[in-house]
Symmetry: C2
Subunit: 434 residues, 2 copies
């Protein structure tokens, strides 16, 4: 099997699209086997059933900004494993730290010194933080944060933005199959960036308001992203102070891509609790919460544990990830590459007279087509990302993308070759609308 | 710093106890730092605050049946990281599989072929299983199993044994701080091994009975363990069939230590869903559920995902772990060493005229002192395990212990040297009661 090198610095010409390309033979064989032993053939956000033709289901390898599927096809990766890969795949310093720790121990009868070092590091990095705890899933972190807020206040109600994603437990899944009404009995919705709606929700909660749970910007899947209005963030802080409730920042998706001090540090809005996961350890399974002294006692009283929550390797990876993000000015690198990508996509869309919206921070970009939004479909997005994928550019039709510090100017230039052809395909299929 | 080699094949003599030994200097320094940046200094089942003096808080290294704390003290490990270490620490074949996978990729935009291979392996191993799904925490697996049962039946009530541990989410934590009554609104308790109590609980649930959730034997912390009555297991199966509810086996703690086909395979009682974690990957963070075709559709409909749930390294570790357990007859090895340990402890206790109870499978032993049970304390257990720990034998005063396939006859012989001295200390402090 000859690897298809769709994108590489030495072979910058991208293959032409020739209509629907079937899944690679190894990918198809694995899909057939998976259909027998995995419900639906695959599940969750990594099911290729939610993607257009052109995307692989199974992946084999990753290095820097590049990934390879099981048929040897190479892609420039703009999903970064849906967020965890913030320095690039297999970052040498992270992998070296992992290897040093792995030969000692990972999961033991007690934590390793890495846990203390990482808690100290987070407390030093984050203005709001006096302590930290660790777990495995982002959902562990948001659930634990809500539990701590309830324990601290003795109240139950939690205000959440309508449509926001805070995890995959019954209290917060976006799909209610198998959940009960009681799982969400104490959630009260508000509209993101609408302080009046939060005040109304707080009035509904009354004296039972435990917390506001909010993401640092609006990154609901299938929607244009929306940056936070600083006045909204400050208003949440003031409202929580006034009502004696905890402000919980769900920084699981955005954390360590916008600001190492927490995604609202630039606004100088300090949450009482922040939840982290995804990018904290460059792909190693870890979640964390960082809180202020006002919630330390409650954090001590709640029941929080897991078989692998204290394991050392992911913590060693997190220490190395934070070091490398600082040393390599990783966030600036993502902003630089992300800006080039956004500018290039805007030029291309304009050139093809296609109306698009690009939203969110450039490190976590998203692109929608006006024609799709008007029709309530992702038809153009599916053609666009499917055509890009078969040209070796891995984007996503309905979920925000992620850049890593490994993306170079040349990577973006090559990616834009692929997106140019993808825009051309959208234009050919749907026409222009500018 | 000279390592204290409390137990080693070449120096079989154990150091004499000389009264309370302070924490080692590195351990104490880390405890002091942790007290500032981690709530309570540590949390969960790995907090040394729940252990008597003599135990370290922080661990450094593990090999086979041996672990070393941060001050270089060596222990024979009979906790196995509270279960995950089933082949011994740093098992060469597992570590080699991990390293092969790590240099390819771990967390990507899609699963690796390892996921299909592991699902196929579990389905082949487990008579009840037609499909499998994977997650990170044992709690993920039990929560997902309950969610699937509810989705399948359209019902809400779940019958659970009073006092049983099924995880660390608000619906099941043993400590209610920060949870709400609604989190447990649909749980109905029964008494383990008491079929009449299950029938009564099922009558309470009526037409809203979704599932029975049960561990393969009673292993509630702080209590003597209780093996399952085969008639009880068969009765649960019949009751679930009669009432159209799902039988969920919570095999998170015991799975792969009793039988590779699932802990009730020897009884020929097939659950509809089984939840696994802990030992499935010899310490790597992984959880799984395996289910029958009757629940496949429901498993497809529920929302189940996590950033690290599809990561390849832990799945490669699981495949190697299952292979090694088979190839090395790991379960038989644990039974052999566990039987030697149980027999030796019984002889020693009798020799000191101390009344004890040893309970549970020999691979997951537990020991209580009659004098403690009568007084509702763990005074003797604390002296016993604290004295054992300072002699290099890592047991636990109130949680069941775990053997691994790495425990040799010589390891048990050396451990019994330590426990002999520990029994002597109990006798000196509390007297005999036989």
């Amino acid at each position: 099997m000859t690897p298809t090198r769709a994108v590489s610095p030495t072979t910058p010409t991208l293959p032409a699209s020739t209509g629907p390309i079937p899944a690679g033979p190894r990918d198809q064989a694995l899909r057939d086997r998976a259909a027998r032993v995995i419900p639906g053939g695959m599940y969750g956000h990594m099911s290729a059933a939610t993607l257009p033709p052109g995307f692989p289901q199974f992946l084999e390898r990753g290095r820097g900004a590049r990934i390879w599927d099981v048929d040897g096809r190479e892609y420039l990766d703009f999903m970064c494993s849906f967020g965890p890969i913030v320095l690039g795949h297999a970052h040498p310093k992270v992998e070296a730290a992992v290897e040093r720790q792995r030969v000692l121990a990972d999961c033991q009868n007690g934590p390793s010194p890495r846990m203390v070092e990482l808690a100290e590091r987070l407390v030093a990095l984050q203005p709001h933080a006096d302590w930290a705890m660790f777990a495995k899933n982002g959902t562990d972190a948001t659930t634990l944060a809500v539990t701590i807020a309830r324990a601290a206040t003795g109240r139950a109600k939690v205000l959440v933005a309508a449509g926001a994603y805070h995890g995959a437990a019954p209290w917060c899944t976006p799909r209610p199959a198998g959940t009960t009404p009681e799982d969400r009995a104490h959630l009260i919705p508000f509209a993101y960036n609408d302080l009046a709606s939060v005040e109304a929700a707080a009035d509904r909660a009354g004296k039972d308001m435990a917390a506001v749970l909010v993401s640092p910007f609006r990154h609901d899947a299938r929607h244009d992203q929306e940056l936070v209005d600083p006045a909204f963030a400050r208003g949440l802080r003031a409202l929580c102070d006034r009502r004696g409730a905890a402000l919980i920042l769900d920084d699981v998706r955005a954390g360590f891509r916008l600001d190492l001090g927490g995604s609202w540090a630039p606004l100088r809005v300090r949450p009482d609790l922040a939840a982290y996961s995804k990018a904290i350890a460059n792909g190693y399974a870890l979640a964390g919460i960082a809180g202020g002294d006002g919630l330390r006692d409650a954090a001590t009283r709640v029941f929080a544990t897991g078989s692998f929550w204290f394991a050392a390797v992911a913590m060693a990876a997190a220490l190395a990830t934070l070091d490398a993000l600082e040393a390599e000015q990783g966030i600036q690198a993502m902003v630089h590459a992300g800006t080039l990508l956004r500018d290039g996509l805007a030029r291309q869309a304009h050139g093809y007279a296609i109306r698009i919206t690009q939203s969110g921070p450039v490190q976590m970009p998203f692109l929608t087509f006006a024609g799709d939004v008007a029709g309530g479909t992702f038809d153009r997005a599916n053609v666009f990302t499917g055509e890009a994928a078969r040209r070796g550019v891995y984007l996503h039709p309905w979920h925000n993308w992620f850049l890593s510090a490994a993306h170079t100017e040349e990577d973006v230039r090559l990616a834009l070759e692929g997106t140019d052809a993808a825009f051309a395909a959208v234009r050919a299929r749907f026409g222009g609308d500018l």
